[in-house]
Symmetry: C2
Subunit: 294 residues, 2 copies
């Protein structure tokens, strides 16, 4: 350590070391370690960027405006984390799966804890709007065995790209949400509507930043799942429509190749009838593989 | 570039590259470059820290609370920048001085643009509180020549550690502020009061973070200067009391070895009389050297 770090005096060269040495007395070792990494990368980034004082102040005001945009209903810092890929990175780090297990993706802000448990085959679309869809598949272990009585919590946006909680009074409560249990063969099926792409809220500082970066605010169409079963790691994920116009440019980086599901249009009247529809429908068949609990 | 970067799909390994490639269409090349550095360091920091989802959410809430603390009078993100050494680093980068020139330090939030211009020797202390002090010195060029008619804007906290703008109605307006001009020998002198250490505002998220890190919120006693002269780079700096209890642990890292000034206690009645005081006083003699304008 140089003489000026020992004295505690700051220079352009030793800046990160001086700040880190000042945190040496932190009682919480994890906080001290986290702050060391943050300070080291923050100072390295400032040294690479060499911001003018005006640019530094713009950054201060961007963070301030982002904070001021946050309220009980809006979390602009989570949007910032999402659009910079940080939320997906934290998800990836916390959900490393063994080979063969289905991959996770971000939870998103629209999950509701107390959605109703419904019988297999129920229609979660309560307002008959949109193109009908049948979703079915199996929940399996990594050795290929079906998992009976797995709990499947599903939710989706409607065909205009809105969740029920975003349109209270317009959509029925608990529209396009439901909890299902797999049968003894590990099978699940339910009815809903073909989802549509939608924008993340883009009327705040994060939306302005995306626009400045030449980026759109859209997420490609998807269905959300949280799957839980006794003895297995819970899985929070989506399945995506590979034909969506935004499938290669999800604003929050949630898409993974393994999460693509095929949305097949079924026009055969016999199959329509079997599936309980009186018109053509989309069929989505997707299995999930759960990792054993560690 | 790997196949999954081309597709735009995110993995733990390629996360920063995927996000950066998404910003490729930014029209503002500087913004694109700045965001590349930020994304690269942000992702590297997350990978080193491996935050749990709870820790990530704590960080989101810390930033949110910091934003909510900001208002017209309080800038908590600047305090965060100050206490992490970022403000001083930005100052250092923007004020690299040639050998022999006086060093800069942070402006701080208490400068007032329209302080009165006063004759040399004037007392900037308008309420007779505190221990009297005479400050004097010269403004010089790097080749040692005196600079006449240099403009010296000085301001300081009172003997309780408060600036006038923090105690409106308690201290007189423009207390402990003044603008002076050097004489033809490059000399300046004025009277004030011995400054005292003071805490940065510590009742918000940044104060809580400092406490968790085992750090105090104090700045050692100092006098602020902005010195300007025709043909020279402006200099924004402080001088510090080396005997201050916090001289080695300034909460905002503003202290530099070259900015130490000696506060000499003068008890000789003849010198008291010469200096215009009727009691012992502190004398501070400090010269500043300005860099030629580039």
């Amino acid at each position: 350590m140089s003489a000026s770090v020992e004295q505690g005096y700051f220079t352009e060269e030793n800046s990160a070391d001086v700040v880190i040495s000042r945190n040496a007395a932190a009682k919480d070792a994890r906080l001290r370690e986290v702050m060391e990494v943050i300070v080291r990368h923050l100072h390295a980034a400032v040294k690479e960027i060499e911001p003018t004082e005006e640019e530094w102040f713009k950054a201060i005001m961007f963070l301030t405006d982002t904070g001021h945009m946050c309220n009980e209903w809006r979390q602009e810092f989570i949007l910032l984390s999402d659009t910079l890929g940080v939320s997906m990175l934290v998800d990836a780090i916390n959900n490393r799966k063994p080979s063969g297990a289905s991959e996770s993706t971000v939870l998103g802000p629209f999950h509701v804890a107390d959605a109703p448990e419904l019988p297999l085959g129920a229609d979660i679309c309560l307002d008959q709007k949109g193109e009908p869809m049948l979703v079915r598949g199996r929940i399996l272990s990594t050795d290929g065995n079906p998992i009976a009585n797995a709990r499947i919590d599903v939710w989706q946006a409607n065909d205009e790209g809105f969740y029920d909680v975003q349109q209270k009074g317009i959509q029925p409560d608990f529209n396009l949400r439901g909890v299902f249990r797999t049968n003894e063969k590990g099978e699940y099926w339910f009815r809903g509507v073909k989802p549509k792409y939608y924008p993340i809220p883009d009327d705040g500082p994060v939306g302005k930043l995306l626009a400045s970066l030449g980026r759109h605010p859209y997420r490609p169409a998807h269905l959300h799942y949280i799957i839980k079963a006794e003895g297995f790691e819970p899985l929070t994920t989506h399945i995506f429509d590979p034909d969506d116009p935004y499938i290669d440019s999800d604003a929050v980086f949630g898409v993974k190749a393994s999460l693509m599901a095929k949305f097949d249009k079924i026009t055969d009247p016999v199959r329509q009838n079997e599936a309980g529809f009186d018109s053509p429908f989309f069929e989505v068949a997707h299995d999930f593989v759960l990792a054993p609990r560690n």
